[in-house]
Symmetry: C2
Subunit: 302 residues, 2 copies
């Protein structure tokens, strides 16, 4: 098996592209895909101040590294969500990488800074921990970016994530979510920051190969709450389809972006955006869920 680019011995086969690469050419391909996604969707350029959200997992570590190497102006943010040792280990991974590479990192600790506890919230509000975590993360992504003068928030969502989300949204025909699923969410309010997913065409496997090749430390374990999550089932069936017909996931996502998504634009929620009476951040209710979370945790402590 020879590298399609330099004809030396290939090390990785990407069936969906019907291409094999040596390690050097894989890194070239990888950076090329990221840069192409950034340009194609006008995500940002070298003048933008970019907040990269990192969890310590392979995808976000790959994103942080590749954007820094490609000369983008990036600052990373890590949120400690208080998920026991998992959170502590992932914070260490992220902090070590920032120190080794001399990269800027913002650490947010929801317990220390805001008194939030996802387990108390999940129990009191009868919501899943994943749903509580999601609300907290979305709030902090935007608040930290807005307060810090960042023009864009970048996340490490990969092709497998996006295909699984799309499949889930289609199985139950979530029109609103279908209207909004995109590698770029534009700024729709002065206090909302643009969100982008530069790795949306790269698979989990490619991100893994990227961090291994670059000897980037990352947390191998999944969040303990992810086990049994619906998204894992969707990834499993998409892998089965991909196995029989390489390129299925990419065709599914790119077809959606080119031909499917536009049909749902008429339902793109016409929700009235307000500013939270407590913190001033954008919300659709009087008080945002983050401020309500803080009150719930304060009451439980008393």
């Amino acid at each position: 098996m020879k590298c399609v680019r330099c004809k030396k011995k290939a090390k990785i086969l990407l069936k969906r592209h019907n291409a094999a690469f040596c390690n050097d050419c894989f890194l070239y391909y990888y950076a090329n895909q990221v840069n192409r996604n950034i340009r194609r969707h006008k995500m940002f350029d070298r003048n933008d101040k970019i907040l990269v959200v990192v969890s310590g997992g392979k995808d976000s570590m790959a994103l942080w590294d590749v954007l820094a190497k490609e000369g983008y102006n990036v600052v990373a943010m890590y949120i400690n969500l208080g998920i026991g040792e998992y959170s502590n280990r992932s914070q260490e991974v992220v902090e070590r990488f920032a120190q080794q590479k001399g990269l800027e990192l913002i650490v947010k600790d929801i317990k220390k800074e805001y008194g939030l506890d996802i387990y108390v919230l999940a129990k009191t509000l009868k919501r899943s921990t994943c749903s509580v975590c999601g609300s907290i993360k979305r709030y902090l992504f935007n608040k930290v970016a807005y307060d810090g003068g960042f023009s864009v928030v970048a996340t490490g969502h990969n092709l497998d994530d996006e295909a699984a989300t799309l499949l889930g949204n289609l199985l139950s025909w979530e029109e609103g979510y279908l209207a909004r699923q995109s590698p770029v969410l534009e700024k729709t309010h002065p206090k909302l920051v643009k969100k982008v997913k530069p790795l949306y065409t790269l698979t989990e496997r490619e991100n893994l190969y990227y961090v291994l090749l670059n000897r980037i430390e990352f947390l191998h374990e999944e969040c303990p709450h992810a086990t049994g999550a619906r998204s894992i089932l969707y990834k499993e069936v998409l892998n089965r389809l991909e196995e029989e017909s390489p390129g299925t996931k990419h065709r599914f996502i790119s077809g959606f972006l080119e031909k499917g998504r536009k049909h749902f634009q008429d339902v793109a929620e016409k929700l009235e955006l307000k500013e939270c009476k407590t913190c001033g951040q954008v919300t659709t209710t009087e008080e945002c869920s983050f401020c309500r979370f803080i009150k719930v945790c304060n009451q439980q402590e008393r």
Copy 2:
């Protein structure tokens, strides 16, 4: 496990409905579903002359039987496609059932009546046998119904078939097919007959149970060309999703019909419908594919 309707001992569990039935109540449920689908989508009523297309398999045999029992005015049509012993065995099954029940049956033999050979056509035209068969069947469904004064053609497509087709159309975002997938295709030309799928909410398993309970003979084997077909893979992954979350297939199809399908109506093909210069049937080209097939087979024979 007790029957949800009569509280006697249940014989079949339908997880997706969270319901178990005894045999009698299952048959009641089954006929109920069929009648509800017919009414809900205004498929036909007892004044309509209905052409039921039968293959000898469990789904179409169940449809033929239930429509006859429910007092609809049905005539069945079987098409012998010349697929060796498979076609001969299926024709026998269908003929025996018609005779036993005293039901009217039209048999069409594409070799004897039109000189068509799907293998010659597939090879000469470089098309799959499934695609050739599909064209021939669609042509004859409409021609026999139109010439015979039928107001509607009914086929045995089940929930598994419809969900697999929908998944395939979504994976490659076939906008035109998405616009047209429906349990009812209305008459859009004076020479086109309405097409309906009264079993679209019933699973393969439920149709199988129906024919077994009623001791209806059917052909157990699949068409020999179906092996390895894409639709089998799609059914496999949908079964995996259904296993983890009963009701997934039904939610997928009903959500599409209620919330998804409407978004694609703007692409519902605005194809100009013409009448074939040779046979007069509706086509989008000068001469329909069926008439071109006949010429190909005639030339090959010389």
